[in-house]
């Protein structure tokens, strides 16, 4: 069965050109970039080129790019470093809708005597800026807020938030894993201190991430034991993946306009058609500024995992905010924080598109999903009551 892949916020296909770029660095050009011979040196040259390409996508300088193993490592490194740099400050601010890579770490800090404030969001998923302003004080070491939400695609005004943090002398970090490659980012014209990104969200392989560290920002490394990345991240460079990420960033730059026109148009068509054909549905975060590729839609009276598995039978890959798919028993913390009622949270489906998505694929979902939802509603005691009430 050919897959219809609409789960690009989970991970993406490695672009063929990206794969070709990295291919020689396994069996042929396998040298260590740190070695003092021509064989390692030529790899180092490609790593440097990759660093330049990543920097170009972010509007950053190459020396501000630290390669890591994943977005989660970058998030952990950023927050830990800030706490070590500002040891007298014992307050951390994040949001209630962060990715677990940030949220779990912050919650663990409360056990170490830190005060942690989780800023709330409104029903559209927008950050409560007034609450943020009131929360930042002279005790705040770091404010860590995501650029765009992985479940809803809602974009936070991180520049404005960073300015609020900086005014009180706190460091500002943003988890931009979902934003990089989908919307333009320019660190040259920014006050953000640190930014995390992950390769596999923008058509590079899994296992490569970046921590952007603004020039002049003090830093304490998370991994020690080597001089790599100017002693800011020890460990032999994952050269092939770094080279791949460089290529992926170059391509992301080239496709940025397409992402925000063609991909966005397909996303809009998908959500508008489904909203028109399926009663009792709502777009999570529909009232907010969102990533061009993401649509999270809640279908009342049905459970997300069931929808996903019926879709999966047709080859369609999506994801859900329901409890049953996550291994946890409560529905998504993001939807809960937005005040999405339980009746909707359990039946929320996220479609996330990419430049590989086609109109035919969108057509198929538009054609098939209404009958899947209807079938499950007929099976559900709540859906039947609702349908009866309507008749």
């Amino acid at each position: 069965m050919k897959e219809i892949y609409l789960d690009n916020n989970a991970t993406t296909k490695v672009d063929e050109a990206v794969f070709e770029e990295m291919r020689p660095y396994f069996c042929e050009l396998y040298g260590n970039p740190s070695s003092m011979h021509f064989f390692g040196g030529q790899v180092q040259g490609k790593v440097t080129e990759a660093r330049n390409r990543v920097a170009a996508l972010l509007g950053a300088s190459p020396d501000e790019i630290i390669f890591t193993a994943c977005g989660t490592e970058s998030d952990n490194a950023a927050i830990r470093s800030a706490l070590e740099i500002l040891p007298e400050r014992r307050h951390v601010i994040t949001s209630r809708v962060e990715h677990p890579a940030v949220l779990t770490q912050c919650r663990n800090l409360t056990q170490k005597g830190y005060r942690v404030t989780e800023i709330g969001v409104d029903e559209a998923g927008r950050l409560d800026m007034a609450e943020l302003k009131a929360a930042v004080d002279d005790d705040t070491a770091i404010v860590s807020l995501m650029w765009a939400n992985n479940e809803t695609g809602v974009i936070f005004p991180v520049e404005e938030a960073a300015a609020i943090a900086k005014a009180k002398g706190a460091l500002f970090h943003t988890d931009a894993v979902q934003a990089v490659g989908k919307i333009p980012i320019n660190m040259d014209n920014s006050v953000i201190d640190m930014l995390s990104l992950s390769g596999h969200k923008l058509h590079a392989p899994k296992g490569i991430g970046v921590l952007y560290l603004r020039r002049g920002t003090p830093f304490r490394p998370f991994l020690v034991g080597g001089h790599q990345e100017k002693s800011r991240r020890a460990g032999t460079e994952n050269a092939a993946a770094i080279i791949a990420l460089g290529k992926a960033c170059e391509l992301a730059q080239n496709f940025m306009e397409q992402e925000n026109t063609q991909v966005k148009a397909m996303r809009d068509r998908l959500q508008d058609s489904l909203m028109a054909s399926i009663p009792h549905a709502r777009i999570n975060g529909g009232g907010a500024e969102r990533l061009p590729n993401t649509a999270s839609i809640a279908f009342e009276f049905v459970e997300g995992e069931s929808i996903l598995l019926y879709l999966s039978e047709l080859g369609v890959c999506a994801s859900s905010g329901s409890a049953c798919t996550s291994g946890s028993l409560e529905p998504s913390h993001v939807l809960r924080a937005m005040g999405v009622p339980f009746t909707c949270a359990h039946g929320s489906i996220r479609f996330s598109l990419s430049r590989y998505t086609t109109d035919e694929e969108i057509d198929l979902v538009i054609r098939e999903l209404p009958s899947i939802v209807e079938r499950l509603r007929l099976m559900s005691p709540f859906g039947r009551e609702f349908l009866k009430g309507k008749a």
């Binding site: 409360t110 056990q111 005597g113 005060r115 009276f301 049905v302 459970e303 997300g304 995992e305 069931s306 598995l309 019926y310 039978e313 329901s322 409890a323 049953c324 798919t325 291994g327 946890s328 028993l329 409560e330 529905p331 339980f342 009746t343 359990h346 007929l378 099976m379 559900s380 005691p381 709540f382 859906g383 039947r384």
Partner: protein, 290 residues
């Protein structure tokens, strides 16, 4: 992705006996929209009112909930009420060729609906308890005291499931009943129930130490607040912050839903009681602004 057996997939994609029986003799309803799964089971009996001649279901839930319901209706047809009552949740799981352990609560839900339906038919109307949790109870007809506030699950029900399925860890209890899978505040209580069922004392019961240095006392107060108190408040959208400790006086400030909550005085007493129980009996908790 869950590793569902071909039988689970078949019963999910082609569920048997979906629908209702307008003149059903017995109806059992468990779960709620808020809990994420719910099952309404209809049974039709023969003329002698002994054998189940038809069974239908309506289920809101994941694939394994739908498959468990479908399997249950197939299993009970042709059985006498007593034979049907002998069906355990494990029998439902076995019929399906097994369920992932995280999904065992779906089979428990099926067994429970069956029990409720038959009990109601026989006139053993179980008393309905007032529940103060935010979800609506998963098993409204279950007797006992609510242990898991998030899913409205009682001690008697938990003990039954622990005993029948020989569960030994709190994690297993969550997989089988959902209890403890929300805020996690009841996990210590679940551990006590497991110990009780296993006929043992709870591992190292926590007791107040005889003598305490000031430093140790402060550490213990912080620990109790972090591990025992705050998770409970989070469950209700609240929070508190330790402001200062001065001898036996512990100053706290309430945050989020607790701030300005009419019952924050009650919450402060609850905190005091817990600290007295686990740290020192002369502790006084004071609510301060800040």
């Amino acid at each position: 992705m869950w590793d569902y057996t071909p039988i689970v997939k078949d019963h999910f994609l082609n569920p048997r006996n979906v629908g209702d029986i307008p003149d059903a003799d017995a109806v059992g309803e468990v779960g709620s929209l808020a809990c994420g799964d719910a099952l309404k089971l209809y049974l039709k009996l023969d003329e002698n009112k002994d054998k189940i001649v038809d069974a239908k279901f309506q289920t809101f839930g994941c694939a394994s909930a739908i498959a468990s319901s479908s399997a249950l209706t197939e299993m009970v047809k042709g059985k006498s009420l007593d034979e049907a009552l002998a069906i355990s949740n494990q029998d439902i799981a076995d019929f399906l060729g097994g369920l992932p352990e995280e999904k065992m609560h779906c089979s428990v839900m099926g067994q429970e609906a069956l029990e409720v339906a038959i009990a109601k038919y026989r006139g053993h109307e179980a008393p309905v308890h007032a529940h103060d949790h935010d979800h609506g109870p998963a098993y409204p007809d279950q007797e006992g005291t609510v242990v898991c506030k998030c899913f409205g699950i009682t001690d008697l029900f938990l003990k039954k499931v622990i005993e029948t399925n020989k569960l030994t860890t709190a994690e297993q209890v969550t997989h089988f009943t959902k209890a403890g899978g929300g805020c996690g505040g009841c996990i210590p209580k679940i551990k006590e129930l497991i110990a009780e069922v296993m006929g043992q004392q709870s591992e190292e019961p926590r007791k107040r130490p005889e003598k305490l240095s000031n430093l140790k006392k402060m550490q213990m107060i912080q620990e109790v607040l972090e591990k025992d108190i705050r998770p409970l408040l989070w469950a209700d959208g609240g929070d508190l912050e330790l402001v200062d400790i001065d001898g036996a006086k512990v100053q706290v400030a309430f945050r989020k839903a607790c701030a300005g909550c009419a019952s924050s005085g009650y919450t402060a007493r609850m905190v005091e009681q817990k600290l007295r129980e686990l740290v020192a009996e002369d502790i006084v908790v004071e609510e301060v602004a800040g």
